[in-house]
Every structure is written in structure tokens, then in C-alpha cells.
């Protein structure tokens, strides 16, 4: 789920299918991760978070998986709906200067009816 230049990676899925959006992180010191959804013209919207003492957390229709061994985070959306179309990006707290979140570039999810 990392951005490449000016072009966001895009995932296209059929309505009703499950979606999996991936995010790689680089800092092994990161112990907190968040997924955000951003619709066109709107601010990022918090979806779900996970701490490094967990490897899975579930919300309503969403599941976040954390694999610390390979520094990989994924967001699974069950029964994807047209309203799920948006840009999704992950954030981590690497606990470097300022104890601040660092945001990834995002993946665009397009849901086909």
C-alpha cells in the first residue's frame, strides 16, 4: 500500500467481495498502528487501530492484521460496498523524535457495482 510517485496504488474489487489492503512499515520500534479512510474532499476518518502486543483486531466489517516479523499491516474489509470506495492509508508511531504518527502514502479502493 505504498505510494509510487504521483500515482496511488489502486485496488479494484467487486461489490460484495472481500478487500485486503496492505501496508509495509519500516521501523521495528513502532508499537501502534492506525488505518484511516479518506473520501474525496474529506479529511481522514479513523477506522481501526492496533497495538503491537496484538496480531489481530476486529471491528465492524473490518479486521486489521499485524505481522511484526515482516513489518506488515493489512486491513481486511468484508462484503465490500460502494461506500467503501476511498483512499486508505496506514499510520504508525515509530517513537522517534516527537512521539508522532507517521503516515503512509495510501491505496485507492474502487468498488465496482
Amino acid at each position: 500500500g505504498e505510494s509510487v510517485g504521483l500515482h496511488l496504488p489502486t485496488l479494484s474489487v467487486q461489490e460484495g467481495d472481500n478487500s485486503i489492503i496492505n501496508c509495509a512499515y519500516s521501523n521495528s520500534a513502532s508499537d501502534y498502528f492506525i488505518w484511516y479512510k479518506q473520501e474525496s474532499g474529506k479529511g481522514p476518518q479513523f477506522i481501526i487501530d492496533i497495538r503491537s502486543n496484538m496480531d489481530k483486531r476486529q471491528g465492524q466489517r473490518v479486521t486489521v492484521l499485524l505481522n511484526k516479523t515482516v513489518k506488515h499491516l493489512s486491513l481486511q474489509i468484508a462484503a465490500t460496498q460502494p461506500g467503501d470506495s476511498a483512499v486508505y492509508f496506514c499510520a504508525e508511531n515509530p517513537h522517534d523524535a516527537g512521539n508522532m504518527l507517521t503516515f503512509g502514502g495510501g491505496t485507492r479502493l474502487m468498488v465496482k457495482p
Binding site: 501502534y32 474529506k42 479529511g43 492509508f89 504518527l101 502514502g105
Partner: protein
């Protein structure tokens, strides 16, 4: 509805002019943040405030200043706007800094000519 209010929603500004972007939150959050979002670069932290009366520099602070006179308000000022400051600016807040979800406003779209 509780949340973050940003104003203006959009602005076209001549280079060299001074501009203040406003941000107000009613969640009584201690920490507030300003980000800019540019295509392909994701969200980058400009300045932050962990509590009223304190501020800190983020990743891209040059050309911007902030103040935090009270808990609710966190204005961002461009003292002398330049075209490279054309961007979408997002204000966010969290209960405290670090491992907490940040909640975002809907942004200010700023064009510097």
C-alpha cells in the same frame, strides 16, 4: 456533533500575503496537529501542540507558525505565502500525544498564486 472545524474550506491567495487557517475542536483533546497533504507525499506534520500553551515543530515547519492559547483553538499562520505552500491543510486532535487515534477536520484547500 463533536469534532474539528476548519476555516476557510478553500482560499486563493496572492504570494506574499499573510494568511491564518483556523482550527477549533470541541472534544477537549489535549493534543492538536497541523498537516499538509500533497499528491504522492501523504500527510506531513507541520506543527503540533501536546497541550495548551506549548507547541512543537514537525517535519515541514518552515514558513509556518502556530499558537495554542487555549485547549480548543490551534491556528496556523503563513507569514508570507509562497506558491510551494499550495496544498490541502488538515488539522487534527487526539486525547493526548503518542499512541492515540487522531481525529481530522475536512481540510482547507489553499492555492498560492
Amino acid at each position: 456533533i463533536a469534532g474539528i472545524t476548519q476555516a476557510p474550506t478553500s482560499q486563493i491567495l496572492a504570494a506574499g500575503r499573510r494568511m491564518t487557517l483556523r482550527c477549533t475542536q470541541d472534544m477537549r483533546h489535549n493534543a492538536m496537529y497541523w498537516y499538509r497533504q500533497d499528491l504522492g507525499l501523504g500527510l506531513r506534520l507541520i506543527h503540533y501542540s501536546n497541550t495548551a500553551g506549548t507547541t512543537g515543530k514537525g517535519e515541514v515547519p518552515d514558513g509556518y507558525s502556530v499558537s495554542r492559547a487555549n485547549t480548543d483553538d490551534f491556528p496556523l499562520t503563513l507569514a508570507s505565502a509562497v506558491p510551494s505552500q499550495t496544498s490541502v491543510y488538515f488539522c487534527a486532535s487526539s486525547d493526548r500525544e503518542g499512541n492515540q487515534p487522531q481525529h481530522f477536520g475536512d481540510g482547507t484547500r489553499l492555492s498560492i498564486l
